[in-house]
């Protein structure tokens, strides 16, 4: 290991990146675009579910129920209809994904029997949305019931019985507003860093093979470790700059609450950068064409980061075998770490497990990468 050679390589690589528009675009524009696209585009919150209303009674009571749906903020009325078949048509055309029907004798039944049915219909082609809308509906009805009960009791001059009832008082920690953006943005940062990092380094060795400069380089006494360190160094700096950009825009632009320490953030981000840069470099050493290397780098970063990192799809709800596989997917550790640092303010002492996972990964990847580079043509 000779620092002079590493420095010579790092300096040369920096000049090449600086003069290569494609590398610069990947390094600087890709994070910007992806942060915008993914940061704004991905949201798991369902608000303003389009709702059709068929109020057969149109009394004060029935309108009060319908208004509760609107005032919850989760629904917005797209149509007021007057027949079952109109609801069917509206759903077919996709104009609403939920409908409520208040029956003709709603207020009388309520007054006489103490309870009255309201029908809710959901377009279940999108199961996730339906489940969430169903939950919202139950919430709306429950609060309506409480009010009706109170009103009824007051009208009859009695205090509502509270005996034998359990009241749930939910308290949501770490993401009090239940805003899915707070949960997703840290994941988006991990996805972008993985994609950009591996893309950048995937070209660094294959480019030299393609241009024929590699033959000259391997005829010199430079060692494979020096080549790896010298080539990764400038990309490591770029990776940290990209990370700083993504994390800063998460905090200051997307307003994700940041409760952790910047030191913890820096250490773990640096570690993750080493892993993704190492993966790109390993691919670049193995695949001697730039196109092939960049395609494979895209494949091995895009798929695991988006599907198995827990960035959008909760790992807890996956089948056991997939859950097991997700442990070997390196972004999973970083997504966990980022969310904990951002939302819980966790320090390294709480995060030792995922940090150890990343560290193990980094060591293995760098070891493989330093060995994969052969100073031979055959």
């Amino acid at each position: 290991m000779n620092l002079r050679r590493c420095y010579a390589l790092a300096f040369k690589e920096t000049l090449q990146i600086w003069r290569d528009p494609r590398s610069l675009a990947v390094a600087l524009l890709m994070p910007l675009m992806q942060m915008g696209l993914l940061g704004y585009g991905v949201s798991l919150d369902i608000k303003h579910v389009p709702l059709c209303v068929y109020d057969q009674e149109n009394s004060q009571e029935s309108r009060a129920v319908v208004n509760r749906f609107v005032s919850s903020g989760w629904f917005s009325i797209s149509h007021n209809l007057d027949s079952q078949s109109a609801i069917r048509n509206a759903m077919d055309r996709g104009e609403c994904s939920a409908a409520i029907i208040v029956p003709v004798n709603f207020s009388r039944t309520l007054a006489v029997d103490g309870s009255a049915p309201v029908q809710a219909i959901f377009d279940a082609t999108d199961v996730n949305t339906t489940n969430i809308a169903l939950g919202y509906t139950q919430g709306v009805i429950a609060s309506a019931n409480a009010q009706i009960e109170a009103k009824w009791a007051a009208a009859h001059g009695i205090t509502p019985s509270r005996v034998g009832q359990v009241d749930l008082e939910p308290s949501t920690w770490f993401n009090e507003t239940l805003d899915s953006r707070n949960f997703i943005i840290p994941g988006v940062v991990a996805v972008i860093l993985a994609l950009v990092g591996a893309q950048l380094t995937s070209l660094t060795v294959s480019r030299e093979w393609e241009r024929g400069t590699m033959e000259q380089l391997i005829s010199t006494p430079v060692t494979s470790l020096e080549v790896m360190l010298g080539k990764l160094a400038p990309y490591f700096v770029i990776g940290l700059v990209d990370a700083a950009f993504c994390l800063a825009s998460s905090i200051f632009w997307f307003k994700v609450p940041f409760r952790g320490s910047f030191l913890t953030l820096f250490v773990t981000t640096a570690l993750f950068s080493v892993v993704v840069l190492g993966i790109g470099y390993l691919i670049s050493v193995r695949i001697r064409s730039q196109l092939g290397a960049s395609q494979i780098a895209l494949l091995v970063t895009m798929l695991p980061t988006t599907l198995l990192s827990g960035y959008t799809f909760p790992i807890d709800q996956m089948p056991a075998i997939i859950r097991a596989i997700s442990y070997i997917v390196y972004p999973r550790y970083y997504v966990t770490i980022l969310r904990s640092i951002f939302l819980k303010g966790s320090g390294l002492s709480n995060l030792w497990a995922p940090v150890l996972g990343l560290l193990t990964y980094a060591v293995i990847i760098l070891w493989l990468a330093s060995r994969a580079f052969r100073k031979r043509l055959d």
């Binding site: 000779n2 002079r4 050679r5 420095y7 010579a8 390589l9 300096f11 040369k12 000049l15 090449q16 003069r19 290569d20 241009r211 024929g212 400069t213 590699m214 033959e215 000259q216 380089l217 391997i218 005829s219 010199t220 006494p221 430079v222 060692t223 100073k375 031979r376 043509l377 055959d378």
Partner: protein, 346 residues
């Protein structure tokens, strides 16, 4: 140090055999009288195809040996094995005293290499390339300025230090590549077709550089497919289909390899004459050479004076045959075509 007079076609400002600012072979070459490059039965096979076939070569210090042969003869493969870039399938090779197969890193510290394909960084400037290779070869910072200045003046690139290398013309690129390859003053140089695609004038000055280096004691193995360049070498190794076909100085090769007298004869039609002579008694070789025929006659067959009559008897008009001094090209045509004669002749 031997100091032969070498004419320099370049205005490099360098006078061979003076102390400062010149190339000198690294004094760490371990064995002094042993050959600097030595191969014994060096062989390389690619999936059953024998690219280099039991090659025995030996180069002394300060020698310029030309590696000549048709495309695919195994020149590049041999050079790559000697640089430690390809592992020999069989046999062994020593460069500067180190075994190529076992100590490739030691070998690499003592060699400079120019690959067939231009392999400097085109997106870096002249100076940046030199700084890079200086760093890779760990040229001390104290020496760096002087060596860079030398390489720049040798390549004739004064004033263009900040030009991107990809915008330079072929001859400059090659001389700069040579400059990068000798920044660390290696005692051994491998140049794989360094002048291919370079205009004649630039080729000429490139060879002057090679001789300057050799005069300093650098051992140089240079491959080329330009026959005229073979004349510049101390010795020529002719290789065909992986085998060493001939080895010797240009004069030796010209004198001994034909096996008979070389005659030049003008005749029409050329094609028919070639066919007629190919099977004639005493004709070792007949080949078209420009608008004439070159014929090698063995003693005891047809005599030179009989040739016009022999051809006239076949209905071919022929002028008188005159004896000529064989060029290296005649020798190569003769040597490279030899194995064909055994099987292909109809």
């Amino acid at each position: 140090m031997a100091c032969p007079a070498v004419s320099t076609g370049l205005d490099t400002g360098i006078v061979p055999c003076q102390g400062e600012g010149m190339i000198s072979a690294d004094s760490t070459v371990p064995v002094h009288d042993a050959p600097v490059i030595l191969t014994r039965g060096l062989t390389k096979t690619f999936q059953g195809f024998m690219a280099v076939d039991h090659l025995d070569l030996s180069l002394d210090r300060g020698e310029v040996v030309g590696f000549i042969g048709p495309n695919g003869a195994g020149k590049s493969t041999t050079i790559r094995m000697l640089c430690g870039l390809l592992k020999p399938s069989e046999g062994e090779a020593f460069v500067a005293g180190f075994n190529v197969g076992q100590e490739p890193e030691k070998v690499r510290e003592h060699i400079g290499y120019m690959s067939q394909k231009f392999s400097l960084y085109g997106d870096l400037t002249v100076r940046e390339n030199l700084v890079f290779f200086g760093g890779i070869y760990r040229v001390s910072r104290r020496d760096m300025g002087e060596r860079m200045a030398f390489a720049i003046s040798m390549a004739g690139l004064q004033g263009r230090e900040n030009t991107l290398v990809q915008t330079l013309a072929g001859g400059w690129k090659q001389r700069l590549a040579l400059g990068c390859a000798i920044l660390h003053r290696p005692p051994v140089l491998f140049l794989d077709e360094p002048t291919s695609g370079v205009e004649p004038e630039a080729r000429r000055s490139f060879w002057d550089l090679i001789h300057e280096l050799a005069a300093e004691g650098v051992t140089i193995l240079v491959s080329t497919h330009y026959m005229d360049e073979a004349e510049y070498c101390n010795r020529i190794a002719l290789i065909d289909r992986g085998k060493l076909v001939a080895l010797g100085s240009p004069t030796e090769l010209r004198g001994h390899q034909l096996g008979g007298d070389l005659l030049e004869i003008g005749c029409t039609p050329l094609g028919a004459a070639l066919k007629a002579l190919a099977g004639a008694p005493g004709v070792i070789e007949a080949a078209i050479f420009g608008d004439k025929l070159h014929v090698v006659l063995a003693k005891g067959g047809l005599a030179a004076a009989d040739l016009p009559d022999f051809l006239a008897g076949k209905g071919i008009k022929a002028g008188p045959a005159s004896q000529v001094t064989p060029s290296l090209e005649d020798v190569f045509v003769r040597l490279v075509s030899m194995p064909h004669e055994e099987g292909d002749r109809t």
